[in-house]
Subunit: 175 residues, 2 copies
DNA sequence: GGAGTATGAATGAAGG
DNA sequence: CCTTCATTCATACTCC
């Protein structure tokens, strides 16, 4: 999937834009992706505007992000999971006459999509920014304004204190 | 890739920048988009059935189009304008306490969202009925006719360019 | 360094 | 009106 690539989201102001990764579009950090994926696998599929705002707000801790990014992320993730599933289902249908399910095939499917938490959307999804370093498995990520873009105002989302990994504790309350 | 449709339509001849696409759904030409956008920015937001019919008729000069396409276009454009504005506003509010800046989040927005139309909605903008309606292909569109105010101060929106097509002439009147 | 893939962004088309 | 789905465009990234 995604490996530890650092983020150099330089803000779009760089006119030169030759070498740097021109930030034409949002490039999520690994932590952001992790949180989003966790939320998704926890059952969140179509966050409301409020939820989007909260998620975006929390994720801005890890790097530049806008709420529309969160919105698009869930849209895309859901859609692509669906389409993957559709494709696989077609394959199954196509070959349903000839095979008897064995563990091999099962494994493949499971790995390809672990779909279908029956959409039991959580009632109250809360993201609390705590200082408890509960989970320390995250890779060492560094949120910092790239030197390429810090000069020209904007985008100095200094996180106040320099933490190794931002303390994000998300509690999901299912009903 | 799976082929379901075999119908192709190349987008508007020399309109440029349009790649050939399958014609599963309407793919507006650049001219069509321009006209629609102009109409929108002129204040038209929810065209009546008659207006839709006339716009569609005129735009058919530029390529294949149906009334429902115009209808959907205005629906989507209006909704997304609102939605974008809402999201952006929220983001701005959210980021108020982190930085003191001058042109902060404007980065992507300027490029992708050139929203913020002056929002100067002219009250009654009506497209004059030039000819009686045809209603040949439009389905059940529940567009309720708006009040008719046909009078004074009309201007004509003309698109001529350098092409060999008849000039578009949409006469709009507002009061 | 171009092909192939993953994915962010956009938008047409509905449904409710 | 609102939200959602499906499809497509655009771009970043990976891997030969």
């Amino acid at each position: 999937m995604e490996e530890g690539m650092s983020e150099f989201c330089i803000r779009g102001g760089n006119s030169g834009s030759a070498t740097g990764t021109k930030c034409g579009r949002w490039n999520p950090t690994t932590e952001q992706v992790k949180v989003l994926t966790d939320l998704f696998s926890s059952g969140l599929r179509t966050p409301s505007t409020d939820q989007i705002q909260k998620i975006s707000n929390q994720l801005s801790f890890y790097g530049k992000i806008e709420s529309k990014n969160v919105f698009y992320w869930f849209q895309n993730h859901k859609a692509r999971e669906r389409q993957k599933r559709r494709k696989v289902d077609n394959d199954v249908i196509r070959s349903e006459n000839s095979i008897s399910i064995n563990s091999f095939t099962q494994t493949d499917f499971t790995q390809l999509y672990q779909v279908s938490e029956p959409e039991r959307v959580m009632e109250t999804l809360q993201l609390f920014p705590l200082n408890s370093f509960g989970e320390s498995e995250s890779k060492n990520m560094r949120v910092h304004a790239s030197d390429q873009c810090r000069d020209n105002t904007m985008f100095s989302y200094t996180v106040g204190e320099q933490m190794d990994h931002p303390p994000l504790d998300l509690r999901l309350s299912f009903m």
